[in-house]
């Protein structure tokens, strides 16, 4: 797969103060820098090295990622939402690319 594609799963609605579970996955090879190609040359490292989740501009959860995380990095974590708003998810690639996606939630 050429371009990394993020996927996120957030409940559509929640009660105020409820702790919800968020699942995220991004398609990415996570080339560890430990492998060699057929000619015996080390394949250079290229991974997603950072993930952050914000809600209405406030940081909820973050993760520093090392090459030991599997291909197609999966992260599951929780969030406590005080009000309706939007989650913003950001993945940072070794090559400087930034992948972003958002998800709205309604708090009843």
């Amino acid at each position: 797969m050429a371009k990394a594609k993020p996927r996120v799963k957030v409940p559509k609605s929640a009660k105020a103060g409820e702790v919800i579970t968020i699942k995220t996955l991004i398609s990415h090879k996570m080339e560890s820098g430990q492998r060699k190609d057929k000619a015996g040359k080390v394949i250079p490292r290229k991974i997603i090295n950072k993930f952050t989740c914000e809600f209405n501009g406030t940081k909820v959860f973050g993760c520093d990622i090392d090459p030991a995380i599997s291909a197609n990095p999966y992260l599951e974590f929780t969030a406590k939402v005080p009000e309706s708003g939007e989650f913003k998810f950001t993945w940072v690639d070794d090559d400087g690319s930034v992948y972003e996606t958002g998800k709205k939630i309604e708090v009843k």
Partner: protein, 284 residues
Amino acid sequence: MNSTTLKWAGLLTAASVFAAGAAIAEPDNNTLVIDGQQLVTDVEAPKGSPLSRVYSGWRFRSPETQAFEMDDFENPAFPAVEQGEALWNTVEGEAGKSCATCHEDASETMKGVRASMPKWNEKLGKPHTLETQINACRTDNMKAEAWKWEAPNMLAMTAYVGLQSRGMPVSVKTDGPMQSWTDKGKELYYTRVGQLDMSCANCHEDNYGKMIRADHLSQGQINGFPTYRLKWGGLGSIHRRFSGCMKNIRATPYKRGSDEFIALELYLASRGAGLSVETPAVRN
């Protein structure tokens, strides 16, 4: 060392490989439910089968590997499925068509397709697999380039098309013009090949449920392909799996898309009749 000695050495190797794990047997009793839909992972074997029951490979995996398949979000094959969906709607080739131009909504038109492949094709004079059918559409109708058997786009498309049959029972036609292909597949299944002098049946019929070193042997059912293998870190085709098995027994694999592998795919599908299509499954 003459050839007889070599053969005995091979047999001894094979015997000792299975012996160690003989104590652990049988698939587990877990139930595969994906987003509320229960799938059939064991069923009475079809008439004439040497097995009494057929089991999906899912039943032989660890609880952690099983869990990956039980939620489409956690299933790592789904980014590829989404890629397949995008390709379905992408116009390609000189005819200016996409898959959707003719087949419209895949969730309607592709229902049951995976479950009935390989399928006889009169024009071709041989069975179509899902891969050759997709390429025939691309070259004949779209006037687009054919995809390679194991190309990411082909895997994405076979996963997307296959998903539309998920939960439906595997059911391939084996009579009429398919009879000779089924027979050919059966012959290949029971023929010992390679330096280890083993057939498919030695592992997947005689010894399923046992441990082959650290691996829990399944019946080698193909109802979940293309499958996301943790070992591959991605999707792979049925023929890639065959190829891997053949290398393990130190045999020279047939080519992907060869008549041999098509016949074997057909015969294996017929052995797994009644199991739910699990595409895209997750295995170790």
